[in-house]
């Protein structure tokens, strides 16, 4: 049972979704109120599949990464048997965080508080002086190891976890988003890897602001005009504009797929990269076609995609590939982590150009992301007036979504944001994720 269920009636009023009039609005109480935040934690984050890390981040036996998600300290570790396991990074004995390093390589984990020690597979080593426990109280070695997260799945190198032992399979959960995650995973002939170095930052805003911003096209020209000017000054031709549209991928997942004037490292050349690169990129594209066929190569190589994997993983596959996660901490504060994903064995020049593109646009020191953060923080301050000015609007293109025609759906419509908020509302109203 979930203690907040008696309140769920109150959450039913947080969404106005009226296909007849084409109105779609979310109430700003959802961005400020602790009760809503708590409901999100219990109804969404306790049940969803959440991204924890990529298998390439722990390549060797004993490699580990300590992270936290939805308030839980977690440990991702590769065992001597080659298996990657996700543990709660918590000592079963008294609850201390066991591994206090952010990353590294080890033979075992020892809790410094009372010296409980665990193998890489989580098994507890014999306790010192355990004769002081009566037989009935002696910790069972099988039950007192590091606790695995209830569910874990490795989808093509992406490690997802769920705190719900009854969660559906990751494949079912991903629904229509699977082909878009495949389009990221399939870029490297030898698989993909997370590039070392993480951008760890934050915003004084509700976590949903980052989700909607990542799949929102309406803000890009007004907010990021200085970045686009920078690209133009460096020779990128943006005159064709952006064409594309959003898709509802089921289960709250959504994507905007589009084409812009910048180049893609796999594999869409742009003139400012020079003629030598043109033939190299053409060869790279031929390799992708050979591997996955022309139809899927179009999606992988030619299309820019901003993908939301419900609830909080965002993948921008544009001039670089960004894995970005919004970790809710409080109604008005989120932690954000982002990583650069790239094909294993990518040639050094492409890797350097990819990193340059990533750093200039996408990071907390880039030419665009800081302005997004300023927008989130401005929204969060504005939400202080939610009692007087309650509704945020996401109605663009709603009638087109309902009546069609399909080919009139545009990237600056808000179909993809509506898909996220519908699922969000369904779950917090029901009080339980499926």
């Amino acid at each position: 049972m979930h203690g907040f269920e008696s309140n769920t009636g109150a959450f039913a009023g947080l969404l106005r979704d009226d296909p007849a009039t084409g109105v779609f609005r979310v109430h700003r109480r959802a961005m400020v109120e602790q009760a809503v935040f708590d409901a999100e934690m219990r109804a969404i984050f306790d049940h969803a599949w959440l991204y924890l890390g990529h298998e390439s981040e722990v390549p060797n036996a004993g490699d580990f990464r300590a992270r936290s998600l939805a308030g839980r300290p977690l440990l991702l570790c590769r065992g001597e048997d080659g298996e990657v396991r996700a543990f709660l990074n918590v000592c079963p004995h008294r609850g201390t965080v066991v591994c206090r390093e952010r990353q590294g390589n080890t033979k075992s984990f020892t809790c410094f508080y009372h010296s409980w020690t665990f193998r890489l597979n989580g098994e507890r080593l014999p306790l010192p002086n355990d004769e002081a426990y009566s037989d009935g109280a002696k910790p069972d070695p099988k039950e007192s190891g590091l606790k695995l997260v209830p569910r874990q799945a490795n989808y093509r190198g992406f490690i997802f976890i769920s705190f719900d032992a009854d969660a559906s399979s990751i494949e079912d959960y991903l629904a229509g988003a699977r082909i878009y995650l495949d389009a990221v995973a399939d870029q490297g002939e030898n698989g993909m890897e997370v590039i070392a170095g993480s951008q760890l930052y934050s915003a004084r805003g509700n976590w949903k602001l980052l989700v909607e911003n990542t799949i929102d096209f309406l803000h890009t020209v007004p907010v990021h005009q200085t970045y686009f000017k920078f690209l133009r000054d460096f020779g990128t031709d943006l005159s064709s504009g952006v064409s594309g549209r959003g898709y509802d991928l089921g289960n709250g997942h959504a994507v905007v797929a589009f084409k812009a004037g910048w180049g893609r490292p796999v594999a869409r050349w742009e003139p400012s990269w020079g003629e030598a690169e043109k033939s190299r990129l053409a060869d790279l594209r031929v390799q992708v076609v050979k591997r996955v066929g022309e139809e899927r190569a179009k999606l992988i190589a030619d299309t820019d995609r901003n993908l939301c994997l419900f609830p909080n993983l965002l993948i921008n596959d544009i001039m670089a590939t960004v894995l970005r996660q919004a970790n809710p901490v409080a109604p008005g504060y989120m932690e954000i982590t982002q990583w650069a994903l790239a094909p294993k064995g990518e040639d050094p020049a492409s890797r350097a150009r990819r990193l340059h593109a990533f750093n200039t646009f996408l990071g907390p020191g880039g030419f665009a992301t800081p302005d997004d953060i300023e927008a989130f923080e401005g929204c969060q301050r504005g939400f202080g007036a939610w009692r007087e000015l309650g509704w945020s609007d996401y109605s663009r293109g709603y009638r087109t979504e309902v009546d069609g025609p399909e080919d009139k759906i545009r990237s600056d419509h808000e179909l993809q944001i509506r898909a996220f908020y519908r699922r969000w509302h369904e779950l917090i109203s029901a009080g339980m994720a499926s």
């Binding site: 070392a196 170095g197 200085t226 920078f230 932690e335 750093n359 990071g363 030419f367 800081p370 302005d371």
Partner: protein, 160 residues
């Protein structure tokens, strides 16, 4: 040309701090050599290589000029209106020299005030300076943060 003294290096860094705190960014750019760079490594990889690893900032001179041009625009919303910053640069040490190039270390604390928040950034400067007829110039200006993460600072939208 004799090797600059620590006092001369300090004067250079204190002038720089003043140019940044007063947002005289064009004058600040003139303190860089033509082959200069401005870098902030990821907080979980302070010894990273910008060609191989993800950074927070890794600007060559053309990019750094673009950064300054952007920061002067009213449409760089993160810094429009601008942050107030106040920086203390200290513990300046000349760590070595080779020809006209000096390896210099220094510590910094920068306070940034914006939107009713005061955020603190602390770390060290890992610098390569070139001694020229026109004075000292940055060849590498790397700010290595001591922070675990930009939390709650969120961003580095001014020059650190």
């Amino acid at each position: 040309m004799s090797t600059p003294t620590r006092a001369e290096i300090e004067d250079f860094l204190f002038l720089e701090a003043d140019l940044l705190d007063t947002w005289r960014l064009d004058e600040w750019l003139e303190l860089f050599a033509e082959d200069g760079c401005y870098e902030i490594p990821a907080t979980d990889l302070p010894d990273g290589d910008p060609a191989k690893h993800l950074f927070i900032i890794a600007d060559s001179m053309p990019v750094l000029r673009g950064r300054v041009q952007r920061l002067k625009s009213v449409a760089a919303y993160s810094e429009s209106p601008r942050s107030r910053t106040r920086r203390i640069v200290g513990n300046v040490r000349l760590l070595g020299s080779e020809g006209d190039t000096l390896k210099v270390g220094a510590n910094f604390i920068v306070q940034r005030v914006k939107n009713d928040n005061t955020d603190s950034y602390c770390g060290r400067y890992d610098l390569l300076l070139r001694s020229t007829a026109g004075g000292l110039r940055f060849v590498r200006r790397r700010a290595v943060l001591d922070l675990d993460a930009l939390r709650p600072q969120g961003r580095v939208s001014f020059i650190l």
